[in-house]
């Protein structure tokens, strides 16, 4: 069903794991990301399920049998309260923003046609998320939480950040990934070291 094609079909960044491009601490950081996917500890079951459905629209992965896990790492961040080091003056603290934002999305969906967000077909889910992104929401539901701000600075930023922290995502965009102690020898345009992704014409 997916027309998605990577220009780097024969590149797997993990093949470099035991090469001089990865040091021990990087191997450990990535191993943990792949193997120690954390359990649910912060979000409620309902919030978790809702977030799974939202994330599946923000970064759909129809081409993968096993999608890159995203929600467990958001839950982990919230559980540990790992903030980015600031909060916008019009936003509540991070944990509260997520709790209120997710609950508002659930209420917004139910309020529109009585179905939960998860029950909506994908195009209606996208339409609802677009409305939230553009602040076209029910103020009664959202109160003083800025819907568009929550969407961009929390929901989308974290979802995208976690997805593109995964080696599968690095491989699909042809990103070199870890590069220490061996960096790169060829730096110019159209130059590629043998340990970099080879691009093929997907057109």
């Amino acid at each position: 069903m997916s027309g998605f094609k990577t220009p780097y079909p024969d590149y797997d960044v993990l093949e470099k794991r035991d090469s001089p491009s990865w040091n021990e601490q990087t191997r450990e950081a990535v191993r943990q990301r792949l193997e120690d996917v954390p359990p649910r500890r912060f979000l409620s079951e309902e919030q978790w399920t809702l977030l799974e459905a939202i994330v599946a629209r923000l970064v759909p992965q129809p081409d993968r049998e096993e999608p890159v896990p995203i929600v467990p790492w958001i839950d982990e961040m919230l559980h540990k309260n790992e903030t980015p080091g600031y909060r916008y003056a019009d936003m509540p603290p991070m944990r509260e923003a997520w709790q209120r934002g997710l609950d508002a999305i659930a209420a917004e969906a139910r309020n529109r046609d009585g179905r939960s967000f998860e029950q909506l077909p994908p195009d209606e889910q996208d339409a609802l998320l677009t409305d939230i992104q553009r602040n076209r929401v029910d103020k009664q539901i959202w109160g003083d939480l800025p819907a568009g701000g929550f969407f961009l600075h929390h929901l989308l930023k974290q979802t995208v950040g976690i997805y593109y922290s995964h080696p599968d995502a690095w491989s699909e965009i042809g990103y070199g990934g870890p590069a220490s102690p061996r960096g790169y020898a060829r730096l110019g345009p159209d130059e590629r070291d043998p340990w970099e992704a080879r691009e093929v014409d997907v057109a």
């Binding site: 997916s2 998605f4 094609k5 491009s21 990865w22 040091n23 601490q25 990087t26 450990e28 950081a29 990301r33 120690d36 954390p38 359990p39 629209r57 923000l58 970064v59 759909p60 982990e76 540990k80 790992e82 980015p84 080091g85 600031y86 909060r87 916008y88 003056a89 019009d90 998320l129 992104q133 961009l152 600075h153 989308l156 930023k157 979802t159 995208v160 950040g161 593109y164 922290s165 995502a169 699909e172 965009i173 042809g174 070199g176 990934g177 870890p178 590069a179 220490s180 102690p181 061996r182 960096g183 790169y184 730096l187 110019g188 345009p189 159209d190 130059e191 590629r192 992704a197 691009e199």
Partner: protein, 564 residues
């Protein structure tokens, strides 16, 4: 075991860190980490809290770390505090954007105003070496006229110090960092050659070069604080591209691997994971030392002088949080200027897609620059001030978040757009913003994990700032287009923090004098980017380090004359 880093034994279990983190102070018991050798230590002199040291320095970044070295080498007793860890780059740092999130200052802060500034990873480091641990190593001097920009260029404020006075200290800082730069840097006063040869320019840098040449303006390889040949135990840059996430090879000449080892060798103590919360004042109106939090408890270090070097948010915050009966509005704040006139560098960027493969993850992110509009005084500009722009090198996560947030892209559109990553190149300015009184740091009632009032930064662009950004976007577009870029788009970003404790000649109009000495408390000093009266159009670190080098010499001159 001291200073244990979470390694395989503790990693990955739920509840454990998923970020770079150091649990306990490492610089204790008469030794400090040897940043050049895995698992090794160097001897370090340590002082007891009751010993009245000559200088307690709060912060070990470009300002505090540099000054700690200068003062220790001049024979003063020095304890330099840092709220963050003493990193061992060779062992601690991974090649991973997410993991390296532990490098940044993530304590509670509020950001507001009409144009709230992103803090954290954007401009705030945490750890010995400060933000130089994650900076992009751009080592540019101020344009000489910027020190007199009111008198000579008709805007902003004059600095209390001239380029002539600072020039030898720029040279000293460049020598200390072994800057790799071109033989002929096209802008500024004629200078002696850079200590090391220039690095080869990467593909994104060559895009800037090609575009500039085609529209007829000058460009240059960026003088960089990363080694182009071996230096002692450090080997040259391997072009791994993770500079903004910490250098795991020590090629980067951060304060952590340059001035800090020198400081320790000269007898300074570096006190890591030690958060200073208050400066104590004596009845005679002089500072008597600092209260700091380490290993779960508050301690008090006696000192003859206190230097605040926590960068443009933490420095004003500490002065404000140190208020007492004698100084009810905070220290050095009789005129109400502490925390005011905070500046950033505006940073709109322009991105384009190219036929050739760029692969912008390779090598330092900013390898080519044009300072054309820093030195253009023609009437073609519809704004006051200056900007430079550099080539860019975002990694996967940074790039994905930039695309998603600035363009509001998500879904399969985002994944498809991301597959063009290797064909993208971009430019971004370091754009001067005006010093405005209401752009400022204040403290809130809300407390952080130490029980200290948290800072709020309020920032709004002026009309002139907006005209400058608009002009720069036009310039960057013309360069990228001339270079062959297609489907150009613009993003919005910022960098750096400056001001908040500006220096000046007039006690009624500044917080400290040209030596960083506060007007009202003679043994209280400031040494960091908060000194800046104006923001200029280049990265601030080299100027901070030049000021710190000069301040070290000034203090060494003043001491024997009894002027401290």
């Amino acid at each position: 075991m001291h200073g244990l880093v979470r390694t395989s034994a503790t990693l990955g279990k739920p509840g454990k860190s998923t970020l770079l983190e150091v649990e306990a102070p490492r610089a204790i018991d008469g030794r400090a980490p040897d940043v050049f050798r895995s698992g090794a230590w160097v001897p370090m002199r340590t002082y007891s809290d009751s010993e009245e040291v000559d200088f307690a320095i709060v912060g070990t970044g470009a300002g505090g770390g540099t000054l700690a070295c200068k003062l220790a080498e001049a024979g003063f007793s020095v304890v330099a505090f840092d709220a963050g860890p003493f990193w061992r780059p060779l062992e601690d740092f991974a090649s991973d954007e997410r993991w390296q999130g532990g490098l940044y200052w993530t304590d509670k802060r509020i950001t507001g105003g009409a144009d709230p500034v992103e803090l954290g990873s954007n401009n705030s480091g945490r750890g010995v070496g400060g933000s130089t641990v994650h900076y992009t190593m751009i080592a540019l001097r101020w344009r000489p006229e910027w020190f007199e920009c009111k008198s000579k260029l008709g805007y902003g404020r004059d600095w209390p110090i001239s380029f002539d006075e600072l020039e030898p200290y720029y040279e000293e800082a460049e020598e200390a960092l072994q800057i790799a730069g071109p033989i002929d840097y096209p802008w500024g006063r004629r200078r002696k050659r850079y200590p090391r040869r220039s690095h080869p320019v990467n593909a994104p840098g060559l895009v800037l070069a090609r575009g500039c040449e085609r529209i007829g303006i000058k460009w240059s390889p960026v003088p960089l604080a990363t080694l182009s040949s071996p230096r002692g135990m450090a080997h040259p840059c391997v072009y791994r591209g993770f500079c903004a996430y910490g250098c795991s090879t020590n090629a980067k000449q951060s304060v952590l691997v340059t001035f800090i080892p020198r400081a320790i060798n000269a007898g300074a103590e570096i006190r890591d994971l030690a958060m200073v919360g208050k400066i104590e004042m004596g009845k005679d109106g002089r500072a008597t030392g600092v209260h700091y939090h380490r290993n779960g408890n508050w301690h008090f270090q006696k000192a003859k002088n206190v230097v605040v070097a926590g960068y443009a948010i933490e420095t004003p915050r500490l002065l404000l949080n140190s208020k007492c009966d004698q100084f009810p509005d905070g220290l050095a704040n009789e005129n109400g200027l502490v925390g005011t006139h905070i500046m950033i560098h505006s940073g709109p960027g322009v991105w384009g897609t190219f036929d050739e493969q760029i692969r912008q993850y390779k090598a330092p992110p900013c390898m080519a620059v044009t300072e054309h509009w820093n030195y253009d005084d023609s009437d073609k500009k519809d704004f006051h001030g200056a900007y430079a722009f550099m080539s860019q090198g975002p990694l996967a996560v940074g790039w994905a978040q930039c695309v998603a947030i600035n363009r509001g892209l998500w879904g399969m559109k985002l994944r498809e757009e991301m597959t063009r990553y290797n064909h993208v190149a971009g430019l971004r300015i370091v754009g001067e913003t005006e010093p405005q009184h209401d752009n400022r740091i204040t403290v809130e009632d809300e407390k952080d994990q130490y029980g200290l009032p948290i800072p709020r930064m309020t920032f709004s662009y002026s009309d002139n700032d907006k005209r400058l950004m608009k002009h720069s976007i036009g310039s960057m577009k013309s360069v990228l287009e001339a270079a062959g870029g297609k489907e150009l788009w613009v993003d919005d970003d910022t960098s750096h923090l400056m001001g908040g404790c500006r220096m000046g000649d007039d006690p009624s109009d500044s917080v400290v004098d040209k030596d960083g000495q506060s007007w009202s408390i003679p043994n209280l000093w400031v040494c960091d980017g908060s000194l800046f009266p104006t923001a200029g159009g280049v990265n601030p670190s080299l100027t901070i380090q030049a000021l710190a080098c000069r301040m070290g010499d000034r203090i060494a001159e003043m001491a024997p004359r009894g002027e401290l």
